[in-house]
Subunit: 311 residues, 2 copies
Amino acid sequence: MSFDTLIEKIIKTQNPTVVGLDPKLDYVPAYIKQKKFKKYGKTLEAAARAVFAFNKEIIDEIYDIVPAIKPQAAYYEMYGWQGVKALNKTIRYAQSRGMYVITDGKRNDIGATMEAYAAAHLGYTDVGGEILQSFGADALTVNGYLGTDGISPLLSLCRDYDKGIFVLVKTSNKSSGELQDLAFADGKTVYQTMGAMCEQWGAEAMGKLGYSSVGAVVGATYPEQLEQMRAELPTTFFLVPGYGAQGGGAAGVAKAFDKNGMGAIVNSSRAVMCAYQKEGCDEREFAKAARREVIRMKDDILSYLDRISLE
Amino acid sequence: MSFDTLIEKIIKTQNPTVVGLDPKLDYVPAYIKQKKFKKYGKTLEAAARAVFAFNKEIIDEIYDIVPAIKPQAAYYEMYGWQGVKALNKTIRYAQSRGMYVITDGKRNDIGATMEAYAAAHLGYTDVGGEILQSFGADALTVNGYLGTDGISPLLSLCRDYDKGIFVLVKTSNKSSGELQDLAFADGKTVYQTMGAMCEQWGAEAMGKLGYSSVGAVVGATYPEQLEQMRAELPTTFFLVPGYGAQGGGAAGVAKAFDKNGMGAIVNSSRAVMCAYQKEGCDEREFAKAARREVIRMKDDILSYLDRISLE
């Protein structure tokens, strides 16, 4: 349970990275878009189908060397319910290829409603006695502003169905400090306090490999805080956005890992999806360019880690 | 712009309440479910169609006396992309009946991604030069944990397209105080600080009727904080959940309003949707029972307000 499945995939691929699939239509090669526009017109349906075709080809090229993908819900919702259907297809397809899927939805709500989100994204839905799966990802990003009520409904799913959550602690964006860096009377910042809550929630859902089911999002763009959080939160697995396009470097990112090279997974989205644009290669080579970028990123990060193993 | 449209609808109906459409399948009368199960099997498609049929009939019964609905995204996502399609149809149908729609999604992310959420839920999406609408609600609930970057993309939509957002300030759930009530070194709590940020963000998007486009979610279950926030945030319009089923009473809720009975809209979800169960009437009367509960709620709240007017 918890992140054990993810950790095993990281060890097997010797690759602690996750590919963010945030497919704005601008990132999708023209030949794919034109094909769908021809068939479906310039519609949300066409956009959603272009997005899925793009994702599918990238997954086919990287599934053997990357443990996980992280689709960002916003970029699917942008294309309406049709886009959300493409999200569903992307999750299912990646899982069929053996990949671990983290839905980046940053969901949050009061307890009763969080139960519905938990059922939607990680669990099951009862329809007249039939137990059905809706989106069925392996992990979900969440926002802990509402406290324990908003997290509890997810913990039972983590325990019973081998799922995980990543709580926003210190985000990668420029203005993250406006609230997250403010210090309480006890001297602890908001992000430290949220981190401590992750450790507390996680204690109820520990895995066998040293980390709990309650992970934390800590941005690569703040290496000092990353190092501090790694020290303060020994059983919390980190999802680290902000590498590459957002400006986080491998030296900083390395601080997210423990001495065995465990405890974190680093995300890259745009640099992988748009590798073909940066390379300037034929757009039909987009998935192969994505694979090349994935390997470059992996080598970059591994050059700062001694090993990736359990001991 | 901003909440002016909503305020005008509140004045016209003399009703500062919003009906939350959070349609768990348990709330939907058996005869509706059976009809859909017969046609579509016990599937997500059947569930989603049952949910929309339920919503539609409630909207038909209340649109003339209630200014707004608030569909909660979680209860649609629970039924997969088919459920999300039902959310889309619900928004569109309510708007066709002249109602104001607040999508309760509590979305949050870094700037670039928040642009995608803004396009998805309030704005427009460019597909090969065609400008299309995805969900197109009038307002969206958001979580401000990421600071200004995560709010800015919404402000331009608020200004240009007459939209609004409600930022979580003090939520209605039991554990909301775990983070929100903690005090910083300057003595201000997290929720006060978030409230002050709402006033600041809102200054860039003021309406003509005294309130900005940046509203706040403040729970009916904490009347003292509601009173405090009303005093500290003079230009911030409140969305007040927690009345009724969650335990907030009309006397407490009245503290959310200014001296003219303006500045807030109170939500009720379960009590309206399940009024037929509480009444014990024929389930085919569910929408009429919803109307009766809406009127009871309105009268209850109005009994604590002197008037609802601009002056």
